[in-house]
């Protein structure tokens, strides 16, 4: 671990302990790959494990789309109250053929219940993050353009996130064209939001407000005391389970944590993310009460 504050023995021992625990979790859950990145705004301590390895982004790419939306708002090219036609027809990046989402797989009737009508950009952003609506995501990608999502990442010098398409583009998936993330890439994005350095203070506040309403809590929050507030975004497909978030505890600055896991299709998704989150929290708590 590195820190601008004086190094303590407790930090070194926490690091060793954390490293061993992480290896144990990886083994127990039969993970093919595990990536972790951590930054504590209170102590400035950073810690990482395999944090530059690229994973399939799954729904964590929606954080980049959220950033892209606020880029366009900041530039005056979009307003959060602008109405967007909710329709289920998108274009594949591979063959320019149209495709439709399988709405029976989308957990969010708040969006597909509006087919043929409009939702505002703000509403779509909210459902994209809090209920991980694929329909809302693809609509927003269509509104702002995928190039502007990448432009936001480039402008803010966020390496380690590659966003090339929306979601459920089966032709692109079969061609191996997927969005990818590293733990360090998502950490950088979240740090900018936590530190109010992504476009404007107001933009960061809006983004945090949305992320704090996250409905899926089996990842990072499951390893924390109930009083902890987490602004985060999960990502799940059959072979990955990720969570990336900003953790707010009482009487201290937040910490930012990204946990990416990959496993075989035969291995069922377990509690690896929650277990890592718990270990990180315990390590932090140990240092807090030294």
């Amino acid at each position: 671990m590195s820190s601008r504050v004086a190094q303590h023995d407790s930090v070194a021992s926490a690091e060793v302990s954390l490293y061993h625990n992480v290896l144990k979790i990886k083994q127990e859950h039969e993970l093919q790959n595990l990536g972790i990145s951590f930054y504590d705004c209170e102590t400035t301590i950073q810690w990482a494990y395999n944090a530059d390895h690229y994973f399939h982004a799954a729904s964590t790419m929606k954080l980049a789309v959220l950033l892209g939306v606020f880029r366009q708002v900041d530039r005056g090219e979009l307003t959060l109250d602008a109405p967007v036609h909710v329709r289920n027809r998108f274009t594949s990046i591979v063959n320019q053929e149209p495709f439709m989402l399988d709405l029976s797989r989308d957990a969010d009737p708040n969006v597909y219940g509006h087919l043929g009508k409009t939702l505002t950009v703000r509403e779509l952003a909210y459902w994209m993050i809090t209920l991980s609506s694929n329909l809302a995501t693809n609509l927003l990608v269509e509104v702002i353009g995928i190039a502007n999502v990448q432009a936001a990442l480039d402008e803010l010098e966020i390496d380690g996130i590659r966003v090339i398409r929306g979601v459920e583009d089966q032709a692109a998936f079969e061609a191996g064209l997927n969005n990818e993330v590293t733990a360090n890439g998502l950490l950088k994005l979240l740090r900018l939001i936590a530190e109010e350095r992504a476009y404007s203070r107001e933009a960061c506040e809006e983004m945090l407000k949305i992320m704090l309403d996250q409905q899926y809590r089996s990842g990072i929050p499951a390893g924390l005391p109930k009083a902890a507030r987490v602004a985060h975004k999960t990502g799940n497909i059959s072979t990955v389970h990720h969570d990336a978030g900003i953790v707010y505890l009482e009487k201290r600055k937040p910490y930012v944590l990204v946990i990416l896991t990959q496993f075989t299709a035969e291995t069922r998704r377990g509690t690896a993310v929650a277990d890592v989150s718990r270990d990180i929290f315990n390590a932090i708590s140990g240092m807090m009460y030294e």
């Binding site: 109405p83 967007v84 043929g116």
Partner: protein, 234 residues
């Protein structure tokens, strides 16, 4: 707000009399090419819709409100998303046919957002489409049935085609030439409607030294004003 027979009690405007911005967006009387290179003249006479409430209250037919034909999203030019907004007078003819279509389909007919009138400035207006004349509708739902399969789209296309030779439909996937689609498109072609209270003599018989349109008069006044200002002693 209307007699329910397709003649809404709304002010009819000659788009040439609108301000420069609106005229630039609506492009009255301009020729536009369709996808086959045929040229069509854009409509000139519009209903002025002063507010959302008026749009909601104005019935074009028993079952169709004017608001259904002007629902747009951010693909429409920002000025035309605001009120007062404008819709070609021929929209009432479309409503009449949609009322028949509704009866034949046996259920309510729902027009999608961006599925009614789209101005020439709308981002989906590539070349002349009857949407720019207010004479086309994209129907995404009939009753509680969302139109997302080939079978459903073909079924209701047939209903429309059987109803009248005036109604034109487009096949499944007409935009991209593929098998994915989410609406039934019906249109009446490039109909322009000139309400009976309108006199067209200004267009046909321009008088010497007399502006044909209100904007020409405004411009003359502006020019006169600027000349007078320039000639005032400093």
């Amino acid at each position: 707000m209307s007699d329910g027979n397709g003649a809404p009690n709304l002010k009819v405007v000659d788009a040439f009399d609108l301000d420069d911005e609106l005229r630039t967006l609506l492009r009255p009387g301009e020729m536009v090419k369709d996808e086959k290179g045929r040229r069509h003249r854009l409509p000139r006479y519009f209903y002025e819709v002063p507010s959302h409430d008026v749009a909601m209250q104005t019935r074009l037919t028993h079952h169709f409100g004017l608001n259904e034909f002007i629902l747009v999203d951010l693909k429409e030019n920002q000025r035309l998303q605001q009120f007062p907004t404008y819709v070609p007078c021929a929209v009432r003819t479309l409503a009449f046919y949609l009322e028949q279509f509704r009866a034949a389909a046996g259920a309510s007919v729902h027009i999608a957002v961006n599925g009614g009138y789209r101005s020439p400035a709308h981002k989906m207006s590539h070349g002349a489409t009857p949407h720019m004349w207010g004479t086309a509708a994209d129907v995404y739902r009939i009753g509680s049935t969302i139109l997302k399969t080939k079978e459903l789209i073909e079924k209701y296309n047939e209903v429309a085609e059987d109803l009248s030779d005036d109604l034109h439909v487009l096949p499944m996937g007409h935009v991209t030439g593929s098998a994915a689609d989410d609406h039934v498109h019906v249109d009446l072609g490039y109909i322009t409607l000139i309400p009976r209270e309108i006199s067209e003599d200004r267009m046909e018989q321009p008088q010497e030294n007399r502006p044909r349109f209100a904007y020409e008069e405004r411009r003359r006044k502006e020019r006169r004003h600027s000349v007078e200002e320039a000639s005032e002693p400093q």
